[in-house]
């Protein structure tokens, strides 16, 4: 099926075929995540592998289903800047509390 123009912005959005391909990728990536979770041999690399897979799924949905790939820099900026702030916030808080938990008296 052909791509479709957005009447309001004139941007071209992908057609159903692209959406179905992305859905297939999402299913495969989710299956990989669950597999990684159950394979004990992969436990040492569980965190980085899961983060990469989740980031890939996140990017696919944002780029294709939310049309950031097609809608220009403005909307990407409105989303990606707070997303980066949110990511830095999460990392910072986790690091700060990691330090705190190592330097506080143990919980009774």
């Amino acid at each position: 099926m052909s791509d479709i123009a957005d009447a309001h912005s004139g941007q071209v959005h992908p057609g159903a075929a692209t959406y179905l391909i992305i859905a297939a990728f999402l299913i495969v990536l989710t299956a990989m995540e669950i597999t990684v979770f159950y394979v004990h041999a992969l436990r040492p690399v569980l965190v980085p592998v899961l983060i990469v897979l989740a980031a890939a799924k996140f990017a696919l949905v944002a780029m294709f289903y939310m049309h950031l790939k097609y809608d220009g820099w403005l909307l990407s900026g409105v989303f990606i800047f707070p997303l980066m702030v949110a990511t830095v916030l999460m990392v910072a808080l986790i690091l700060l509390f990691t330090y705190l938990s190592h330097h506080l008296a143990p919980i009774a």
Binding site: I4, D6, A7, H8, S9, H13, G15, A16, Y19, L20, I22, A23, L26, I27, T30, E33, I34, V36, F37, R43, L46, V47, L50, I51, L53, A54, K57, F58, V61, A62, F64, Y65, M66, D71, G72, L74, L75, V78, F79, F81, P82, L83, V85, A86, T87, V88, L89, M90, L93, I94, L95, L96, F97, T98, Y99, L100, S101, H103, I107, A108
Partner: protein
């Protein structure tokens, strides 16, 4: 053909005239909304000011007991809360931002006028809730920052903190809606030719402030939600004995709190950047650097919150990082100060009261900035923290910097807003008394702080040696009180018998001065064409702007052209008034009130009001939320509809909201002192739920594609499928929660359970809202009211739905699949 929205009569000579009381209650005109913000802020400013005076009376002499200790605590808490949330922010954003943004960018209103009215009514409801403690339960008394675990019910029983929590949640919602509205307005509604680098500097400050609001307030919202759960539902987010840490509150609060300083300071910088060039008759020196400095200050402001927490023991690495970022922020701030000075230098100065206050701001704010750099050094901060030195510092920033700017703005824009001049003679008295009163009150606090006087102290002993400076400060506070009295008198005199203001009394530079004073409801009869920076100055004098100065210097008054008013303004479409913002806000207020006083009938009545108002707003205009945007005004956003920018801004803000929730879960998941932990999570069930939600996103985009093709049959099928999959996901979540309950894990069982239920529960609430939204669209599709021309309605709902989906992708990974990975 869809019914057209109701239209306002557009022949009103001024936005202030006509409509009566109902007209004001239902107004969505940005200028009237601004005036309502002004009225409420001036009312609350009197409250906050009197509380400050009472504090100073109490500290007049040692061992004084004019106030009880409890009343004293309540007064300094309410003074801070009132001044920040109910006075300074409403004045800067609600009043000045609202009034000036459309006028300075050459638009007829803000992007979402009804949302704008809703923001005001919510802010008013928040102010009322915060003050209902006067009537029942007592005033909040844990400081404006409400440190945990003092705010827990065990330590502060009664209703006082409940008023504070609910009031600030409502206030925060109002502010986020305002930020979203302003950001969209400035991005999408600038007049033709007004590029970003041609915007007035006040617009730059409001643009960046709006972004800061959207990324800073969610952290406070989460902190308050945790506190609300602790107080109302017996969770233990800040209770150390349950394994939690009160320091979580400090992080969440200051993640909001320091950007909040710049949410107040940046608009103040914007004001000074408007006033100084006008009264120096020079363009703003270093415009690009001023704009970049605003951006850099905002960016850095999000990475300095830790300097409020050096005393908590964050460790040398974190202390160093926060010290460096805190010191770095002095650079762009210094750029601004030097640019203002360079603008004044060599200018043809007109010493009006507005200019006096602007110059006063530059001096006083610099003093506050210098003491701020001291706080950036962790070892020095440890000596100063919680002392009166800090009180001196932040008053030099917030009063010397921000309030002086607000006063400058009053004298500068009051003629435009009311059509009357403020008295210059009384204004000069106001200024000098403010300078004297302010410095006599706050400068000695630096010394008292260094001598060891702790902030918030109720009283002190005669042997401490603090008496004389405290008495001097109290005298200063009364001088400041007299100054404010003169200000109120000046306002009153201006409204009653003030000299009529011409359209352009100061020979201004930006577009608002091209409109009559006060402006008509539609702002501009013809939308302006912007040909450069200082748009109105160029219209008046051409691109060689110095001719204006030369004309003045040679004694020739500049020939300010009067704005051209076409005979026919019937073609101007203004959005119709709406009662729903008021009703919705009343509903929210009733819900908050009922929750606090345990009167659940009121909660239900409020909820009904909220739901009916939302439905009413949805169907108020036949075209599903379109607010009759000016057909003349092509979006200055590359053709992207304002609603799309609005929903993306909201989604951006939600990123920080969920990041705060997820961080808390990761931090707390392994800190429970008893009960089940992450091993209880059901991976097969949630894997299925994840699949369902991902597929619902597929159905959602297929529905959009069908709508864009004009294929109504598949539009309904895919939309219905999305709703169905959403419901299946929700059913899975209900099953999961109830099975946890059966296994003995309730909300309050331990830290893991409470952070899990709150995080996943909030996501579920978002899914439920999405299902409701999509159901409404499905009904519209079934009744033939959607279709290709309204594909944007589907796209907006779809964006929200996909965001809920990507949040779940993160939750599924970090919460479920990483269950075996220990937390911090």
């Amino acid at each position: 053909m869809a019914a057209q929205p109701k239209l306002l009569p557009v022949h009103q000579p001024s936005y202030l005239e006509g409509g009566g009381v109902i007209g004001w209650l239902t107004t969505i005109d940005h200028k009237r909304v601004a005036v309502m913000y002004l009225a409420s802020a001036l009312f609350f400013m009197a409250f906050g000011g009197l509380e400050a005076m009472a504090i100073r009376v109490q500290l007049w002499r040692p061992d004084n007991h004019v106030l009880s200790a409890a009343t004293y605590n309540a007064f300094f808490t309410m003074h801070g809360t009132t001044m920040i949330f109910l006075v300074v922010m409403p004045l800067l954003l609600g009043f000045l931002g609202n009034f000036l943004i459309p006028l300075q960018i050459g638009a007829r209103d803000v992007a979402f006028p009804r949302l704008n009215a809703l923001s005001f009514w919510l802010a008013l409801v928040a102010g009322i809730l915060l003050h209902l403690g006067w009537i029942r339960g007592g005033l909040p008394d844990a400081g404006w920052f409400g440190y945990a675990n003092l705010t827990e019910r065990y330590f502060t029983p009664g209703l006082a903190i409940d008023w504070w929590v609910i009031g600030l949640l409502v206030s925060g919602t109002s502010t986020v809606l305002t930020g979203l509205n302003f950001l969209t307005t400035i991005i999408a509604m600038r007049a033709p030719g007004m590029t970003y680098m041609r915007m007035p500097m006040f617009m730059w400050s409001m643009l960046v402030t709006s972004i800061l609001i959207l990324i800073a307030f969610p952290a406070l919202t989460i902190g308050l939600i945790f506190l609300l759960f602790d107080r109302f539902f017996n969770t233990h987010f800040y209770v150390a004995s349950a394994g939690a840490t009160p320091i979580l509150w400090q992080h969440l609060f200051w993640l909001f709190g320091h950007p909040e300083v710049y949410i107040m300071a940046l608009p103040a910088f914007g004001i000074i950047s408007e006033v100084v060039p006008t009264f120096s008759r020079k363009p703003l020196f270093g415009y690009p650097m001023m704009a970049y400095s605003i951006c850099l200050i905002a960016f850095l402001s999000y990475g300095v919150w830790g300097h409020h927490m050096f005393a908590t023991g964050m460790g040398p690495v974190a202390d160093s990082a926060f010290a460096i970022t805190s010191m770095l922020i002095a650079i762009p701030t210094g750029v601004k100060i030097f640019s203002w000075i360079a603008t004044v230098w060599g200018g043809s100065l007109r010493m009006t009261t507005a200019f006096y206050f602007a110059l006063g701001m530059i001096l006083e704010f610099t003093i506050g900035g210098l003491s701020g750099i001291m706080h950036a050094s962790a070892p020095i901060d440890l000596q100063q923290t919680d002392s009166y030195f800090v009180v001196a510092h932040f008053h030099y920033v917030l009063f010397g910097g921000v309030m002086f700017s607000i006063m400058s703005a009053f004298y500068y824009w009051w003629p435009k807003i009311t059509g009357h001049m403020l008295g210059e003679r009384l204004g000069k008295w106001h200024f000098w008394l403010t300078v004297v009163g302010f410095n006599v009150t706050f400068f000695p606090m630096h010394f008292l702080g260094m001598w060891g006087m702790p902030r918030r102290t109720y009283t002190y002993g005669a042997d401490m040696g603090w008496t004389h400076l405290n008495q001097l400060e109290t005298v200063g506070a009364f001088i400041l009180g007299i100054a404010f009295l003169l200000f109120y008198i000046n306002i009153f005199k201006s409204l009653v018998s003030g000299e009529p203001a011409p359209a352009d009394p100061w020979d201004g530079r930006s577009l608002e001065w091209s409109t009559p004073s006060p402006p008509p409801a539609y702002n501009f009869a013809t939308l302006p064409q912007v040909r450069g920076r200082d748009a109105w100055w160029i219209i008046k004098y051409g691109r060689a702007g110095s001719r204006g100065v030369a004309a003045y210097m040679s004694g020739q008054a500049p020939a300010s052209p009067q704005p051209a008013e076409p005979a026919d303004v019937d073609h101007i479409h203004m959005p119709a008034p709406s009662i729903f913002p008021l009703v919705l806000s009343l509903g929210v207020g009733m819900m908050g009130l009922g929750l606090i006083i345990d009167w659940y009938r009121i909660v239900i009545m409020g909820a009904v009001g909220v739901i009916l108002s939302i439905i009413g707003m949805g169907f108020e205009y036949a075209s599903y939320g379109e607010e009759s945007h000016d057909p003349e005004h092509a979006p200055s956003s590359g053709g992207i509809d304002v609603r799309k920018i609005g929903i993306w801004s909201f989604i951006g803000s939600e990123c920080v909201f969920f990041a705060s929730l997820i961080s808390t879960f990761i931090v707390y998941k392994a800190r429970s002192v008893s009960g089940p932990g992450p091993e209880i999570l059901n991976i097969p069930l949630t894997s299925f739920s994840t699949f369902v939600l991902l597929m619902s996103s597929l159905l959602m985009v297929l529905a959009l594609a069908a709508t864009q093709r004009g294929d109504k049959r598949w539009e309904r099928i895919w939309l219905g499928g999305t709703v169905l999959f959403g419901l299946i996901f929700l059913c899975g979540q209900v099953y999961e929660f109830t099975s946890f309950m059966r296994e003995g894990m309730g909300l309050t069982t331990n830290l893991f359970s409470q952070s899990f239920f709150v995080l996943v529960g909030f996501h579920g609430a978002h899914v439920a809202i999405g299902v409701l939204w999509l159901s409404v669209l499905l009904v519209a599709a079934m009744t033939g009211n959607l279709g290709k021309s309204r594909a944007l309605s589907i796209e907006l709902a779809g964006l929200y739905w996909h965001f809920v989906d990507v949040v779940w992708i993160i939750i599924f990974t970090l919460v479920y699949l990483m269950q075996a990975v220990p937390g911090a």
